[in-house]
């Protein structure tokens, strides 16, 4: 039975189970009183019918591939099974390619055709087992549930219990996603730290991830000191924050305290446009329009500005973050109670004095939280730096130099061909782990400050 036919029949039978359950309830209604509405009996049988199928399909999707691979490997000739795990993986890729009907380039090994045939045979076998077992189980459970339908069956309560459990399961996806991110990055990072020591990574001053292709090659042992990357990220983020914080804050203050409603109604959507522009577009602008402009400007005033200078990147990134800073500051400024403003005006303070001496100090924790969130955004921003910042890791705090960032290096290391046992590829995950932990800490702390601040004035 093919997979698509199976899916169609499952859906069809699912509908059927619903209507049969409902029909039985409707028939029962003539003789006895029902606990629940008839459709709940339909849902009840549907749930019994669907549960085993869904479960088996889910398990099959998760584990079929790795199960089949392991089986095929165990059937390979002795000589190949004795190879290292990576070699076997390479051979298995050939097997899978051949099994999928693709041509294999280059040399291969004896028993390849046999393995590919095995692969297809076992895949088919596993699929058949999954399909028939789920059909049989589903039907059995449906018959069981159908027979159990009676006037006293508390169908609604049972169905509602299932629904609320499904809702809970959806909510816990958030935990799984976080755990998934952490584990996937952590595992590869641990493999990286088994090759390169933790200290060399975190405190090393040279980053040159090129690895020797041959053992005897000279001068490319691969150095993974991440300090230049951290410095570059910090420099670019700092420049962007020096643009975004004053402008964003002043925009928020002007809009919430001074601007007539007409100005506000034009300016707010404009800021939303600014935040809606994809980062790749900002990156294009930074690389094609702003960078040459800054370089030419540097020539006229006699400065040698790199065409991938941190200055240009930071500027554009700062503009990208303005809406974030502005909307977060707007929230906290409007949360300051009116009574505090009134008190200040009553003492004769001007509007700007009130803002500077009363509102900003009162809103400071919230503003700081907002700035931290903006910083985490700047650190994790990828496309602008990938397109407009430099590639070579250079330890410099000069804004007119080209520096590189953590995210740029992750992209450079992972785009293109990759093998998952070289420290070069694994380094990207170590960088990713660092990035994740830093932004996690910043976000966590920032949200905590903002929440605490809100509670203070509620």
């Amino acid at each position: 039975m093919s997979l698509s036919l199976f899916l169609i029949s499952i859906i069809f039978l699912g509908f059927l189970s619903f209507f049969w359950g409902k029909r039985k309830a409707l028939l029962l209604k003539n003789t006895e009183s029902l606990h629940s509405l008839p459709r709940y009996y339909g849902y009840y049988s549907l749930a019994w019918f669907a549960a085993p199928s869904l479960l088996i399909i889910f398990l099959w999707l998760l584990f079929s591939e790795s199960f089949v691979t392991n089986q095929v490997i165990s059937l390979l000739p002795e000589s190949i099974r004795a190879l290292s795990p990576n070699e076997i993986t390479l051979r298995m890729n050939d097997v899978k390619n051949l099994a999928a009907g693709n041509l294999i380039a280059g040399e291969s090994f004896i028993g390849l055709e046999q393995a590919a045939a095995n692969y297809n045979r076992i895949t088919k076998l596993v699929q058949d087992v999954a399909i028939y077992s789920s059909l049989v189980l589903s039907l059995a459970l449906f018959i069981f549930s159908y027979r159990s339908i009676s006037g006293t069956l508390r169908a609604r309560n049972k169905v509602e219990k299932i629904i609320s459990n499904l809702l809970l399961a959806s909510a816990t996806v958030a935990i799984f996603a976080t755990a998934g991110i952490l584990l996937s990055v952590l595992f590869e990072a641990i493999r990286f730290f088994q090759i390169i020591s933790f200290d060399d990574f975190l405190f090393g001053l040279t980053w040159s991830p090129q690895m020797a292709i041959r053992e005897d090659q000279v001068g490319s042992s691969g150095l993974f000191g991440a300090i230049p990357l951290f410095a570059g990220t910090a420099l670019i983020s700092l420049i962007s924050l020096t643009v975004a914080v004053p402008v964003g804050l002043m925009t928020a203050i002007y809009l919430s305290e001074y601007a007539p409603s007409k100005v506000r109604s034009y300016t707010k959507p404009m800021l939303e446009i600014l935040s809606g522009i994809p980062t790749v577009v900002y990156g294009f602008f930074a690389a094609i329009t702003l960078a040459p402009f800054i370089r030419d400007f540097g020539v006229t005033i006699g400065l040698d500005i790199a065409s991938e200078s941190a200055l240009g990147v930071g500027l554009v990134m700062g503009i990208m973050i303005i809406p974030l800073v502005s909307s977060l500051s707007d929230d906290v400024i409007s949360a300051v109670p009116q009574a505090m403003r009134d008190g200040s005006y009553g003492l004769g303070a001007t509007k700007s004095e009130t803002i500077k001496k009363v509102i900003i100090p009162a809103a400071l924790p919230g503003i700081v939280g907002g700035i931290l969130l903006a910083a985490s955004r700047a650190i994790g921003e990828t496309m602008i730096v990938v397109m407009a910042a430099g590639l070579s890791a250079r330890l410099s705090f000069n804004p007119i130099d080209a520096v590189t960032t953590v995210t740029v290096q992750i992209v450079t290391l992972l785009v293109g061909d990759q093998e998952f046992d070289s420290p070069k590829t694994l380094a990207a995950f170590a960088l990713g782990l660092t990035l994740f932990l830093v932004t996690l800490a910043l976000n966590f702390y920032a949200l905590k400050i903002v929440r605490k601040y809100r509670e203070q004035y509620e």
Binding site: L168, A171, A174, M250, Y254, K351
Partner: protein, 432 residues
């Protein structure tokens, strides 16, 4: 008495002395505010005018009128009308012969090469498919408009400085002269560049289009919506309506807030490690891209849906519970339908953000060079923002304007999605 009056006068004198300075600082403060806003406005203006001025010219493409004699001796000398034979015929020669009728003086090898590269290298392929579709064309002379080579097109659009030395520009003196002669004979026109919307990627700017990327992005958004919307809405309903107050739920909330702020590239690492390496899904496929974007959009949808659920007044819930509906019935039959427009609005805005996202897609290999338009979410494909990234990196001058054009297409779709969201909100929003 007189003493206090004296004091009051002293104080008002002090205040008056300071007033001018204070008003000035008040004025300056306001001025800074206006400057900040102007800064953002000016940036937006410069930004859009820069993109539009670079990109608008990509919507037209220079074409040359050619009379091509489909010589049977060249195409099918044996008169067998065998498809394989015709496929390998020398169509390049037909193009060159036709061009030579305009410039019979061309003889040297170098000049022939220059002449041939006046028109797009896709011309012979186009002839090939015309002939394969209709054998009766063989032996006839056809009169068609063919696309000019991108470098010539750039020259026509004024993007190549011909005052430079010949060695420093991409078109030769001969080519400039020929193009000018052809222009005088009205054989060159600028026509709407339909290729931009009907073709996939290509190495040649004049043959490259965004359709492949557009379809890839479309598949991804569909998958994102199918996965993230039900999950996000269900999670929001649970957290807003059913969740007890306990440690576990607090933990879930912390996770959601953090997920919303995790850098997008980290989601790409997750996709690479879990979906591709662990589950063995295909690289560069919209399926994986859609799943990664779904995970990214999930917290956004939860946050928006919770806001929508909160805006439904408690009186609705109370009334439903009062007439004997169960909690689940109340939520699904009464609260949920009222909150749905708000949830959809928030989700569409979240999806618009996902459409513009490219960093995670780089991680899962969607930067591959894909010519074909994908026909299923399992095919290799590009995505619109990634296409922008790829073209921005391409060295040819012709790709600069195409990058800007692709950006304009991307911005158009973002605008479309956001205005749909606003329209939905205005149409279905209930003021309680």
């Amino acid at each position: 008495m007189s003493n206090t009056l004296q004091e009051t006068q002293d104080i008002s004198e002090i205040v008056n002395r300071g007033l001018k300075k204070r008003y000035r600082s008040e004025f300056m403060f306001r001025f800074y505010g206006v400057v900040s806003i102007l800064f953002a406005v000016v940036f937006l203006l410069v930004f859009f005018s820069s993109i539009i001025s670079k990109g608008y010219s990509a919507f037209t493409q220079g074409e040359l009128n050619m009379k091509i004699y489909l010589n049977e001796e060249v195409i099918d000398p044996d008169r067998l009308r065998d498809e394989e034979e015709i496929r390998y015929a020398n169509f390049d020669k037909l193009v060159l012969d036709s061009l030579k009728t305009y410039f019979p003086e061309v003889s040297s090898r170098k000049e022939r090469k220059e002449l041939k590269s006046l028109v797009s290298s896709g011309t012979s392929l186009r002839l090939q498919s015309m002939v394969l579709n209709d054998y009766s064309l063989i032996g006839q002379e056809i009169d068609i408009w063919v696309r000019l080579d991108s470098d010539i097109d750039m020259y026509l659009k004024g993007n190549i400085d011909v005052s430079l030395d010949e060695s420093q520009r991409r078109i030769s003196d001969n080519q400039v002269r020929w193009v000018q002669e052809l222009q005088e004979q009205n054989l060159i026109r600028q026509n709407f560049n339909s290729t931009l919307f009907t073709a996939g990627d290509s190495r040649e700017p004049e043959l490259a289009g965004v359709l492949g990327a557009l379809v890839g992005s479309f598949f991804m958004l569909i998958i994102t919506f199918i996965v993230a919307f039900p999950l996000g809405v269900a999670a929001a309903i649970y957290l807003e309506e059913f969740a007890p107050k306990n440690r576990f739920i607090d933990f879930v909330e912390v996770n959601i807030n953090n997920l919303a702020a995790v850098p997008s590239i980290i989601y790409g690492l997750l996709g690479l490690a879990v979906f591709i390496n662990f589950f063995g899904m295909p690289r560069s496929a919209p399926l994986v891209g859609g799943l990664v974007l779904a995970l990214m959009t999930f917290p956004v949808i939860i946050i928006a849906s919770r806001a929508a659920l909160q805006s439904v007044p408690p009186s609705i819930t109370d009334a439903a519970l009062g007439v004997g509906a169960s909690k689940i019935q109340t939520v699904f039959d009464h609260v949920f339908p009222l909150a749905l427009p708000g949830m959809l609005t928030g989700s569409i805005i979240g999806m618009a953000r996902a459409l513009g996202e490219s960093a995670p897609l780089l991680m899962i290999g969607m930067v591959a060079f894909v010519v074909d338009v994908p026909s299923s979410p399992l095919d290799s494909s590009a995505a619109l923002p990634v296409q922008v990234y790829l073209w921005a990196d391409a060295p040819e001058r012709g790709f600069v304007e195409r990058t800007s054009a692709a950006i304009l297409v991307l911005l158009f779709f973002l605008l479309l999605m956001n205005s749909t969201a606003i329209w939905l909100r205005n149409k279905f929003e209930t003021k309680w």
